[in-house]
Every structure is written in structure tokens, then in C-alpha cells.
């Protein structure tokens, strides 16, 4: 295949600006798919993705386009996840491309994520074609958006295709722009092999299916290959390219091509996204740049609601991990919740997705503890530990100081809500960096924020305080020294390990108070009074009391209908079975979850 007839590209956009719809339309218009084959959205093939309208795992598809010049072109369209949790995956997907289509909503214009993605694409030296979507909307204002793209991003946009991916309007312009404005791949098919892994998928029959972009050399069936970062070696069983929703084997993938390979690989951990595949015998001198091992940013405990399901939970996590190298877990035990796992995630969305998949696909009922970030605890003996579970915090006398992870956040907001958003950032211990107006009515605000403050509900708060007009993106900015304390919850004088968390000392009182109030609502009355206390060290900072139950409704018994009385008692007893016993207090599972939603009211 003639390299000059290949175009490897991706589509970048802010969430909801129509990325997946445009991808569908391109696939449809190029004629590789019949309408019948067309699912609503071909690229998003996980149920969850469709429901949430987001793309979780990047995917790719190869299509054939017969251009106006009469030539046939191969398009490799690589889909990228749209969420900041998956930033690293996005960056690897971009590295597999030579160009990008930037989709901007004709009504909403540029948003924070648009900027982040464009900068990421430009960082990877991709040529970017802007496309203005949703011009069929009554509120569409393409002229303003063109101006915005030119002013803010500095991309020429006067001739940008103005389309409606939904109706199919002007899609042809996009296809021609891809042929004429995006570069063909470079690379020598005879050079030592360098293929970039940008995704992988576990298949029960074939093992791991590695998605890669061949930059140099040629990848063939039967080759002996090695992963340059992990060192793992395999013999290639199959190579091929991506049909729509299926894998189409071929003999080889030469430089410039995007495709897949299988090699009876059992573990996705051996084929890390970002790693470089080379030949064992004639290896490349050095790997492609940019590989890094992604580490979880957010941790929480996951416990089966029914303790007997512990092995099921372990099996389910292992299966999910086959497809998700970023998911980490290790067994832990909690006095309150029994046997479970401490799980690490890329972010809160990642956490929620895993949690939902465990519940939905594996039918598990879970109790999840409050998510936390990875703190660095510097001990007086000069050593440092990375703390993922609050229960493991050393004694305060052994702690010299602690650090917490920080992010740099970019928030784009219309001018009337600037004040509200700055207040929010201030409340969340943000440090102001800068603000610039990108047009008369919109500004880009930058803050440094502790990651801890944004993993709970920052996004929701942002949306509600800006009436949905603010958009948000962030990137990690290392660690910073901070005054942190462990907040413990005592129920009937007993510390409940699963409810402990690390918190900034200045907000400990506020959070402690809210926790106590919430728990008071959740814990049913017992035969005795139950004090609920929040404590830092030995100092109680907040207290609520669940009053003792004084009186049952006295059940009458009539006509010898004892069965009914027994049913009533059984119901009472059954209810207790679903609770967790802490000392002599029964705590409903829901109580452990409710504290995750402290800021809802």
C-alpha cells in the first residue's frame, strides 16, 4: 500500500460537541458500512459508554475513501477517550496519529476541554483541521466560533467545514479536508521495528489484542517481538486492521499503518499503553518517546455487601483488570466491613465506571469507602511512605510532615459567573494563578487546587454554581506540603475504620460535623443511645446522638394469628442481617456510602 494514500487521524472535541456522531457519519459516508450494520454509534461499543455518552476505551477503525481526485485512501480513525481521567490514554492515541479533526460546537464555542485537547494534539505535532458542528441548531453562531478558534487557538478557520454530523450536512467537506490537509505518514518499512501501543483489549480466545501504530519497520505474523519498557517477549500470531466492529487479519503492517497484533499474551500488564514494540533479533536503538507507567490517583476500599461474595469480587476485579491496566487492587481488611480490596483508579470517573461495571456486569452489591488520593507521609526517621489507606497513617509522633497531590485546573466560564467560580476555588483551597478573557464574555481561569478537593464533587459544584456554563480540565502538578489530619468517626465510642479519612486540618471540623449529621440520619434507632463522634487524634470535634428507641408499636395478636406476629419479628431480624455490626451497633450499608455525598444539600 502506498504510504501517501494513508491518513491516520483522530477527532478531538469537548464532551457533547459531537465527536462520536461525526465519527459515525464518516464511517457511514465512506461506504465501508451499510446502514443496517450501523449501530447508533459504532465506536462506542460498551453499553456503559453509550449510556453515559462518553468514550471510555479508545478504539480504531480502518475505512476506505474514494476521494474527488479519483484515488482510494485508507483512513485510520482513532477514537480517543474524552475525559481527563484518561489523559494519558488520550496522549498515546494522539501519538498514533498524524493529524486531528477538532470539532467545535457552533453554539457553545470553545470549552476548557477543547483547549486541553487541542494543545495536547499540537504538542504531538499533529496538523489540526477545525470543523464547526451543529450548524443546524437555531442558536448556532459559526462566525463567532470561527473568530474564537482563530483568536484563542490560533488556527486558520475561515475555510473550516461547517457541518451537521447529526443530519450529515457537509460531511464530504470533512473527508476532502482529511485527504488534502492532513499529512500522510512517514517511516521506512525496512528500518528496525518501532510500533507504538496505544490501547489493548483482552479477548478470551486470542489473549491480549494489542492496538498499535507502526512508526518504523514492518510487523509481520511469526515475528519474534519484545516490549521495550516491560521487556516481555512474544511470537506474533496474528496482525490485522480494524474493520467496523471486527478485526480483519492481514499478513503484515508496514510503517505508517495502524492495526493490531495478537501473540497469546495473557496479561495486559505486559503490553502497557505507550510502550514500543520492536523485533527481538533486530531491535530499534531506542523506544519511541513518551512512555510512562500510569499510576492510580484515587483510591478507595471496595467491599462486597455480602461477605461471602469476597471471592466473586476478586474474580471480577481480575477480569476487569485484564482490560484495564490502570486498575489496581490489593486485598485489605476492615474491622467494620470485613474482607475487601483497596482499589486504585485514574480518577473519580474511572472509579465510578469500575464500580458500575462490578455491580452491573458481575451482579455484585458493593460497599465503597470514601475515595482518597495518595498522600506522601514524611516520617521523622527520614523515610517517606505513600499513603493510600487512611488506616495506615503512622502515629502523629512519627510524622514529620505530609504532602498532598496538586492539580492545575483550567476553568472556562462566562463572565457573570467568574465570581462564583472563584469563590468555589477559594473554598476548595485553590491558589489563584491567572485569569484571561478569551473573548468579551468569557474567561479562562487558572487555579492550583489540591486533588483531594476536586475528587468528590467539584465538577457538580462547578456546574451548579455556573448554571452549567463552566467547563473544566486539569492536569497533575506534583505534591505540596499541607496541614493534613486523619478524621476518625466513633460510633458508640468505637472507631469505625472504614469511615476514617484524611482531610485538610482547616476543614476537619466542617467535614466532621457533616459526617456526624449524615450518619445520624442513616443509623436506625437502637435500644440504647448511640453517640456519633468525629475526632482528630483524641480530640472530639463534633458529636451527634441517635436517641434510644423508647417504644415499639405494640403489636396486637388476635384470632390466634401468630404467623403474622412471627413474620413481623422475622422482618425485624432480616433487616438487621443487612447491616454491619460495629460493637453492638448495627449500621446499614447505605451509611458507608452516604458519607461520600456530604455536599449534596
Amino acid at each position: 500500500m502506498d504510504q501517501s494514500k494513508i491518513r491516520n487521524f483522530c477527532i478531538v472535541a469537548h464532551i457533547d460537541h459531537g465527536k462520536s456522531t461525526l465519527a459515525d457519519r464518516i464511517i457511514q459516508m465512506t461506504g465501508t458500512l451499510t446502514d443496517r450494520e450501523m449501530q447508533a454509534q459504532v465506536l462506542d461499543n460498551m453499553d456503559l459508554e453509550r449510556e453515559r455518552g462518553i468514550t471510555i476505551k479508545s478504539q480504531a477503525v480502518r475505512i476506505i475513501y474514494k476521494a474527488d481526485d479519483g484515488q482510494e485512501y485508507i483512513f485510520n480513525l482513532i477514537d480517543t477517550p474524552g475525559h481527563v481521567d484518561f489523559n494519558y490514554e488520550v496522549s498515546r492515541s494522539l501519538a498514533a496519529c498524524d493529524g486531528a479533526i477538532l470539532v467545535v460546537d457552533a453554539a457553545q464555542g470553545i470549552e476548557a476541554q477543547t483547549l486541553a485537547n487541542v494543545y495536547l494534539a499540537l504538542d504531538h505535532d499533529l496538523d489540526v483541521i477545525p470543523v464547526i458542528n451543529k450548524i443546524d441548531l437555531p442558536s448556532a453562531d459559526p462566525e463567532r466560533v470561527i473568530e474564537e478558534i482563530e483568536d484563542v487557538i490560533g488556527l486558520e478557520a475561515q475555510d473550516a467545514p461547517q457541518i451537521s454530523a447529526k443530519t450529515g450536512l457537509n460531511i464530504h467537506d470533512v473527508l476532502e479536508a482529511i485527504v488534502n490537509q492532513l499529512p500522510a505518514p512517514k517511516g521506512d518499512p525496512k528500518a528496525p521495528l518501532q510500533a507504538l501501543i496505544f490501547d489493548s483489549l483482552y479477548d478470551p480466545y486470542k489473549g491480549v489484542i494489542v492496538f498499535c501504530r507502526v512508526k518504523e519497520g514492518t510487523l509481520k505474523v511469526g515475528d519474534s517481538v519484545k516490549m521495550m519498557a516491560t521487556g516481555a517477549q512474544f511470537d506474533v500470531v496474528e496482525v490485522g486492521y480494524f474493520g467496523a466492529g471486527q478485526f480483519i487479519p492481514c499478513d503484515e503492517l508496514p510503517a505508517g499503518m495502524v492495526g493490531y497484533m495478537t501473540a497469546s499474551i495473557k496479561n495486559v500488564r505486559d503490553t502497557r499503553v505507550g510502550d514500543t514494540i520492536t523485533h527481538t533479533n533486530a531491535p530499534a536503538a531506542e523506544p519511541l518517546p513518551g512512555y510512562k507507567k500510569v499510576n492510580p490517583m484515587v483510591y478507595c476500599g471496595m467491599y462486597p455487601a455480602d461477605g461471602a461474595k469476597y471471592p466473586d469480587l476478586r474474580d471480577a476485579l481480575e477480569k476487569l483488570q485484564l482490560n484495564d491496566a490502570a486498575l489496581q487492587f490489593e486485598p485489605e481488611t476492615s474491622v467494620a466491613l470485613g474482607f475487601g480490596f483497596r482499589c486504585g483508579f485514574l480518577g473519580l470517573l474511572h472509579l465510578e465506571i469500575i464500580q458500575e461495571r462490578l455491580e452491573r456486569e458481575y451482579n455484585l452489591d458493593l460497599v465503597t469507602t470514601a475515595p482518597g488520593v495518595v498522600y506522601r507521609v514524611h516520617k521523622t526517621d527520614g523515610t517517606m511512605i505513600e499513603l493510600t489507606n487512611p488506616s495506615n497513617l503512622p502515629d502523629p509522633s512519627e510524622i514529620d510532615y505530609m504532602e498532598e497531590p496538586m492539580v492545575e485546573a483550567e476553568i472556562m466560564v462566562t463572565s457573570e459567573y467568574i465570581g462564583a467560580i472563584m469563590d468555589l476555588c477559594q473554598e476548595r483551597r485553590g491558589q489563584y494563578i491567572s485569569m484571561e478573557y478569551i473573548e468579551e464574555t468569557r474567561a479562562l481561569i487558572k487555579y492550583t487546587l489540591p486533588l483531594n478537593e476536586i475528587i468528590y464533587d467539584f465538577f457538580d459544584a462547578l456546574k451548579s454554581r455556573s448554571r452549567g456554563y463552566a467547563s473544566f480540565d486539569y492536569e497533575m502538578k506534583g505534591y505540596m506540603k499541607s496541614e493534613l489530619v486523619k478524621l476518625d468517626i466513633l460510633i458508640n465510642k468505637e472507631e469505625v475504620d472504614a469511615l476514617s479519612f484524611i482531610v485538610f486540618s482547616g476543614t476537619a471540623y466542617e467535614r466532621g460535623r457533616k459526617m456526624c449529621e449524615k450518619l445520624k440520619e442513616e443509623i436506625p434507632r437502637h435500644l440504647f443511645e448511640i453517640p456519633i463522634q468525629a475526632a482528630v487524634g483524641s480530640k472530639v470535634i463534633a458529636r451527634e446522638t441517635v436517641k434510644a428507641m423508647r417504644k415499639d408499636v405494640l403489636a396486637k395478636c388476635y384470632g390466634g394469628d401468630i404467623t403474622r406476629k412471627k413474620k413481623l419479628l422475622e422482618k425485624q431480624k432480616e433487616g438487621k442481617k443487612r447491616m454491619r455490626q460495629i460493637g453492638n451497633v448495627e449500621i446499614p450499608q447505605a451509611a458507608f456510602m452516604s458519607v461520600l455525598k456530604l455536599d449534596e444539600d
Partner: protein, 400 residues
């Protein structure tokens, strides 16, 4: 001869009270006659199985049994007496509502051996009676009570209710005063339960949940208030010489309801009539609850037709064979409703094992927490244990 109790269900009411979920309804006299005939068929059908038993109590409940015309009541009691061995000193009770009795009826009751009446008053406040959907006012009750005494009944119960919507201590005191003044031998004081399927449920279901959760309520007394009403009742009746012998029952001069005590002691009982429950040889049976099906079953039996049934009685709708575990649980949660609780020796006698071997840890915990106490070989709930009886009793259910 082994003792047995008989319960007879009369599912007829002049009008259904708004809180009532008992198996009863409004039917005309024709249906009442048809039902009583069917009931007598069941009595005669079941009797041959109990020729080795002696009937120690008969309880005619409802519905409103006193609404039946006297010849029907006569037929029922006479049939029982002819078919079973009834102890001459048996307690024979009938539930009555004010306004359904006359001196003629009462005289007949006396003549056929009925020796205990239970009158449903519920409240001495007319506004509360109206709210409950009762068919009578307080004056009507006074009139009925007078007739009852004049007819010579010396074992009379009056039902009152606590926890009514908008009930205050003052209103309850008025009711209790009005009742104790008349010196009935027995008082049952039940607290109102908002039952599903009743008009009260539709009206007060949210309030009932709030009450249970200890939250502020709209119409029903709060949890705290109903506790006070209940405590007040206890103290008031104690002051007036009524001794509490069961969670909701009080008696003067030892005139307890022997029939009801039998339930708590698990004396075998035979339930006759629509939906009636029986406990015979550790088998619990509930009769058919559909009145037409019930009368048709009897009519088929009268006509000499064979009636198929998967159970030991053609009248049964459900039957449950109690395991030893079930029996032990019942022994505890029923027996502990009595103020003097259960005897260790009875447990040993009935199950051949020491009560401590089964319930030792639970008993110890409950005693340490102050919900139970023990004296002279008996185990019983303390006052605070009775306050939260469902919570405490549920602990006696055993795991599989």
C-alpha cells in the same frame, strides 16, 4: 383428656371501622344465616377428631359477633357443646360492640353459658369515635354496659385504644376515667397500628413512618408522645387496681382472659370459621379466607360430597408444620408477652433441653442490658424490655 381452646370467627360488621384490617365485612342476614349453617357444619365435621380433648375456653370473635341475632348465637354455642366435651367451668367469651345488644339477647347469652363479654369501646371521646369510624358514641356504650351488668355478667372486658390521631393525655385520661369508673373486670389497651389496606393507611401512612422513625408527625402522636400515652395508661390503670398481666391486657382481681393466656402458653387451639387459625400438635393451620369458598365447602360436605384438600382439613387454606426450632421460638416470643414471662421448667419439659443451652447468650445479654430479669425459675421482660418488646422478642428467633 387434654385441654383445648376453641376460637370461632364471625366475620360480620354493621360497618367497617376505618383502622380495621380484620377479616370481616358487611353482609346481610341471609348471608349471616348461610355462614352460621356452614360454621356449624365445620364444627360437627372437626369435632370427632377431638373426642379425647376437653374444651377449656371458647372465644367468639369477629367482626362483631354480638350483631348476630340470638338464635344464630344459640345455634353456634349449642352445636359446640353438643359436639365437643366442654368443661362445665369453661370460659366462654363473646366480642360485642355497643348498640348491638339488647336485654333479650344478653339473657339468651347467659342461658346458653356465655360468661364473659368483651366490649369494644376504644374511646370515651365522641370526636375520636367518629374519627375511628365507630358505629356508636360514648352514651351508647354506657347504655350497653348497663344492660350487660343488669343481665348479670360479672366478667367483662372493655377495649380502649392509645396512640389515636391527635390523642392527648387529657383525652386519654377522660377515656380511662370513664372506663375504670364502671369497674369492668378486664381492660385491653391496644395502641393503634396503621395497617395496610385500611382507609387509615391511606390517610396516615407517611405519619406512621415518621412516628416509627421518631420524627415530627402531623396527626398521629410522635413516638415520644405515644410512649407517654402508653406509660400513662399503665400507671393510671395500676392506680385503679388493674394489674397488667400481658403487654396490652389488664385485669382486676385476677379476672384474666384465660383464652388469650392460652395463646401465649401455646395451649392447643382449634379455630373454626372463616380465616380462623389453629395450633394442634405443632401444626399451624389457617382456614379459607374467601367467605363464598368457605360456605361452599361446608355445603358440599353437608351434601355428602367428598372435598379434596392437600391439608388435614378441607377448610384449611394454609398449613405449616412447626419444627422444634419454630416451637422454641414461639414459646419464647409468645410466653414473654406475659408479664410473669416463661418458666425454665416449662421449657425443659416441652423441649427436653435446658433453656440456657439454646438461649443462654441472648438471655445473658438481655439481662445485662436491663431488658430482662429472672426470678424464682421464671424469665420475664422488664418494663423497659416491654417498651421495646418487638426488638427484644426478635432476638429469640434462631438462625437456621
Amino acid at each position: 383428656m387434654t385441654p383445648i381452646e376453641i376460637y370461632i370467627h364471625i366475620p360480620f360488621c354493621v360497618k367497617k371501622c376505618l383502622y380495621c384490617d380484620f377479616l370481616s365485612g358487611v353482609f346481610d342476614e341471609k348471608m349471616q344465616r348461610r355462614y352460621v349453617a356452614a360454621l356449624c357444619t365445620e364444627i360437627k365435621y372437626m369435632a370427632p377428631r377431638f373426642q379425647q380433648s376437653e374444651v377449656v375456653t371458647i372465644y367468639v370473635g369477629g367482626g362483631t359477633p354480638s350483631w348476630l341475632s340470638e338464635d344464630l348465637m344459640d345455634e353456634i354455642i349449642t352445636t359446640v357443646k353438643q359436639s365437643f366435651h366442654v368443661n362445665p367451668l369453661a370460659e366462654i367469651s363473646v366480642e360485642c360492640n355497643p348498640g348491638t345488644l339488647s336485654s333479650e339477647k344478653l339473657n339468651l347469652y347467659r342461658s346458653i353459658g356465655i360468661n364473659r363479654l368483651s366490649i369494644g369501646l376504644q374511646s370515651a371521646n365522641d370526636d375520636e369515635l367518629k374519627e375511628l369510624g365507630r358505629i356508636h358514641d360514648y352514651n351508647r356504650f354506657l347504655h350497653t354496659f348497663d344492660l350487660v351488668r343488669k343481665a348479670g355478667f360479672d366478667n367483662v372486658n372493655v377495649d380502649v385504644m392509645t396512640g389515636l390521631p391527635h390523642q392527648t393525655i387529657e383525652k386519654l385520661e377522660k377515656t380511662l376515667n370513664a372506663v375504670t369508673m364502671l369497674r369492668p373486670e378486664h381492660i385491653s389497651a391496644y395502641s393503634l397500628i396503621i395497617e395496610k389496606g385500611t382507609p387509615f393507611y391511606e390517610k396516615y401512612k407517611f405519619d406512621a413512618v415518621k412516628q416509627q422513625a421518631g420524627m415530627p408527625t402531623e396527626d398521629l402522636p410522635t413516638d415520644e408522645e405515644s410512649y407517654k400515652l402508653y406509660k400513662f395508661t399503665m400507671d393510671y390503670l395500676a392506680k385503679k387496681g388493674y394489674q397488667r398481666y400481658e403487654i396490652s391486657n389488664y385485669a382486676r382481681n385476677g379476672k384474666v382472659c384465660r383464652h388469650n393466656l392460652g395463646y401465649w402458653d401455646r395451649v392447643p387451639y382449634l379455630g373454626l370459621g372463616l380465616g380462623a387459625a389453629s395450633l394442634i400438635d405443632n401444626v399451624r393451620t389457617s382456614n379459607i379466607r374467601d367467605i363464598y369458598k368457605y360456605v361452599e365447602t361446608s355445603e358440599a360436605i353437608s351434601a355428602g360430597k367428598a372435598v379434596e384438600s392437600e391439608f388435614s382439613s378441607p377448610y384449611a387454606q394454609t398449613q405449616e408444620i412447626l419444627s422444634k426450632k419454630d416451637a422454641m421460638e414461639e414459646f419464647m416470643f409468645l410466653g414473654l408477652r406475659k408479664i410473669d414471662g416463661v418458666a425454665r421448667s416449662d421449657f425443659q419439659k416441652m423441649f427436653g433441653i435446658d433453656i440456657e443451652a439454646i438461649y443462654g447468650p441472648i438471655l445473658t445479654a438481655l439481662r445485662n442490658e436491663g431488658f430482662m430479669d429472672a426470678k424464682e425459675g421464671r424469665l420475664f421482660l422488664t418494663d423497659i424490655g416491654i417498651d421495646v418488646s418487638n426488638q427484644v422478642l426478635a432476638k429469640f428467633l434462631l438462625d437456621e
